[in-house]
């Protein structure tokens, strides 16, 4: 059997039956073998317009489905173009499997045509990389890579394959397929559930005056909607989320306060500041969620952590007041805690605390939901979209001001329905991730909330959506500027605006039509509603342009490196 057949057969056996990528010289034999599998319908191959899009599409597929997906590129530039997407997947713990072609073994290290040291390039931005040296080891490493990508804290892996291996004939008797293979030096994290710790956590929560639950992306991957709500109901405990944790629970759940963090909702940040005990569920407490650790330390709050990754717990314990922890998958950890709390019982009346949180919500709502009648307001645009889309629609975002508006104002109702580049903040993520999500969940409406600056970075993949009949809808918040950067220049760099504004010439409707998609230009909320309904009815790739004022801010925010005590909730000069 040829090496390429070994590789493809292994992918099929591992259930990796969707491949996003672009063929070239060094993965040509791999693609040649795929012809038979595509013809028989066993594997779907999707030609992206740039390898960055391929990595994001595989990432979107993985986040929407919970299953790993494959992206591929040829050696040199093809593989190098995957890099941003792989880093994006690593920072957000998404199981992407990249198969990169490499120059033949005899050419490696000689500045050969389209040669790049991909293992060296990606080693520190992926969970694992291996350069395969023998064709008979292809099944072993594809299996190992998939196992590593999907277990523990999920993450991207790269399998770099010199192209002569694809052409090599392998004695099938020498191939050890999957039986009994162990990845040496790799283990899943242990569960560490100390009954004493669980009891202590239960008592801390039961006795807390102002308990709060902070849910992160781990609660989406688990998922644990029922357990989160049970615990919240039992303890009368409000919930805040990280940006990527938004979809961990239905956002219309009455005790959900909103996303906290650098661009988080003011009431969520205030609730966090006021809380005395915080149960952190599946969150790695990045500098985006807690920009300044003094906010935790000075408020003398106590933290309880539930996390699958023990090293996260140990790290946090070295500088934060962690009183108890459970090292386990979120759902399992929460169940242990729920059982323990049933024994301990609720010891405090929480009505005053809940009333305070509700007052925060009501107070800040007056500041957020303003409409001076001048142009379309981001919050109202999102409200309009939400009212048209089904509850189970999947939304991806680009990166920029629109992403922060989505974090604050978009309502997600189920895990895996809000997909964004959180850790890496990769502009251009939205459209290709939407393509991947739609391939994974063709039964769902998939919509990319994007900004003009972000969309334009990977919009070439619209051609893929059209050719492959992947009916995603893109809503472009078109403020003709890199809004979030402009905002920082405006607020914190003495209004010295530079290199952010985009000219008027780019026509998103014509660009959409040029790719064969539907294009809509809207001027009102009614226009937007009509366009969305038409896009869903026609069920073809569509781009809807929504004009937004250039100076529309993404608020609340903090000064760079600032504390929640320095939140900027609204512009004093803004017209009410």
């Amino acid at each position: 059997m040829r090496g390429s057949k070994l590789a493809v057969e292994t992918l099929k056996q591992m259930g990796l039956n969707v491949i996003f990528g672009i063929p070239g010289l060094s993965n040509m034999a791999f693609y040649d073998t795929l012809v038979d599998y595509v013809t028989s319908g066993e594997i779907r191959v999707i030609l992206m317009r740039h390898e960055q899009g391929a990595a994001h599409a595989a990432d979107g597929y993985a986040r929407a489905s919970g299953k790993p997906a494959v992206c591929t590129g040829t050696s040199g530039p093809g593989a190098l173009n995957l890099v941003t997407g792989l880093a994006t997947a690593y920072w957000d713990s998404s199981p992407v499997i990249a198969i990169t072609g490499q120059v033949p073994r005899s050419s490696i290290g000689k500045l050969s045509f389209q040669e790049a040291d991909i293992p060296g390039v990606v080693a520190n931005i992926t969970k694992f990389v291996v350069q395969v040296r023998r064709a008979e080891e292809l099944p072993k490493w594809i299996k190992a890579a998939t196992y590593i990508a999907t277990t523990g804290r999920p993450g991207p892996v790269v399998i770099d394959i010199p192209r002569d291996l694809f052409n090599e004939d392998v004695d099938e008797n020498r191939v050890k397929w999957f039986d009994g293979f162990k990845v040496e030096g790799y283990r899943e994290f242990p569960e560490i559930v100390d009954p004493f710790m669980v009891k202590k956590a239960a008592e801390l929560l039961a006795e807390a005056e102002r308990p709060l639950m902070l849910v992160g992306a781990g609660a989406v991957w688990s998922p644990a909607v029922e357990e989160i709500i049970t615990l919240s109901e039992t303890l009368r405990m409000p919930i805040v989320s990280t940006f990527l944790g938004k979809a961990a629970i239905p956002n219309d759940y009455p005790l959900y306060v909103g996303m906290m963090g650098y661009y988080g909702r003011a009431e969520a940040n205030k609730a966090f500041m006021d809380s005395d005990v915080v149960l952190v569920v599946g969150a790695r407490l990045s500098d985006r969620t807690i920009p300044n650790v003094r906010d935790v330390i000075d408020s003398k709050k106590k933290l309880i952590l539930i996390n699958i990754d023990p090293t996260d717990v140990y790290k946090h314990s070295s500088y934060l007041p962690v009183e108890a922890y459970i090292i386990a998958d979120v759902r399992k950890g929460l169940r242990k805690l729920i059982n323990a709390i049933a024994e301990v019982g609720l010891k405090r009346d929480r009505s005053q605390w809940l009333r305070r949180v509700i007052e925060y919500k009501e107070y800040y709502a007056k500041l957020y939901y303003r409409d001076d009648g001048k142009g379309l307001k981001p919050w109202k645009v999102l409200k309009t979209i939400r009212s048209v889309l089904p509850r189970d629609a999947i939304v991806t975002t680009g990166v920029g001001a629109h992403q922060m508006w989505a974090g604050v104002f978009w309502e997600s109702y189920a895990p895996r329905t809000f997909i964004s580049s959180g850790g890496m903040g990769t502009m251009g993520f939205g459209l290709p991730a939407a393509i991947g999500a739609k391939v994974a969940r063709p039964d769902k409406v998939v919509l990319d909330l994007d900004g003009d600056g972000s969309f334009i970075m990977t919009m070439n993949n619209l051609g893929t959506a059209v050719d492959e009949d992947i009916p995603v809808i893109v809503v472009v918040f078109d403020n003709r500027t890199l809004g979030l950067v402009r905002q920082v220049q405006d607020l914190f760099f003495n209004k010295r605006i530079i290199a952010v504004d985009i000219g008027r010439a780019t026509d998103f409707v014509k660009l959409a039509e040029g790719f064969g998609a539907l294009g809509f230009n809207t001027q009102s909320y009614e226009d937007l509603e009509v366009a969305l309904k038409k896009a869903m009815k026609e069920n073809v790739p569509s781009v809807i342009r929504v004009p937004i004022a250039r100076d529309e801010k993404a608020l609340p925010t903090l000064p760079p490196g600032g504390s929640f005590r320095e939140m900027i909730v609204y512009e004093p000069s803004a017209d009410s």
Binding site: P119, G120, A123, N124, K127, F128, V129, V130, Q131, R133, I148, G152, V183, E184, G185, Y186, R187, E188, F189, P190, I192, D309, P310, T311, Y314, K315, S317, S318, I327
Partner: protein
């Protein structure tokens, strides 16, 4: 406090990137490496690598990160009253073998995929 820490890393060699991964774990956290030596331990590809690294506030994070890196079996921090950091360059014992000696530690802390052996160095 000692100026350096001695770390022993046990892991499975796939290619020379194995060594890069170890060094990068410290480099990424701005920690300088003063000395490194290592060898294959058995025929299953198990290697041990010793590093002398400068003390740094990020040391603990680097060790934890390295201890959950695929192919790395275990990371040990060797404890001494006063960490020896001088490297003897004489090695005149033999023309046929490499010689490296690691001073015997007073105690050892082990980190392996979330399991901490011995008292955690942060507690």
């Amino acid at each position: 406090m000692s100026q350096a820490q001695i770390v022993r890393v046990l892991g499975y060699y796939t290619d020379a990137g194995f060594i890069e991964r170890i060094v990068a774990s410290f480099r990424k956290l701005l920690i300088d490496v003063d000395a490194i030596c290592g060898r294959r331990v058995n025929d299953e590809g198990l290697y041990e690598v010793y590093l002398v690294v400068r003390n740094h506030p990020n040391f603990y994070t680097a060790v934890l990160n390295l201890s959950k890196t695929p192919t790395i079996e275990k990371v040990e921090v060797l404890g001494y009253h006063d960490t020896p950091v001088l490297v003897d360059e004489k090695c005149e014992g033999s023309e046929k073998v490499f010689i490296f000696c690691v001073p015997k530690p007073l105690k050892t802390w082990g980190f392996s995929w979330g399991v901490v052996h011995g008292q955690d160095i942060q507690r």
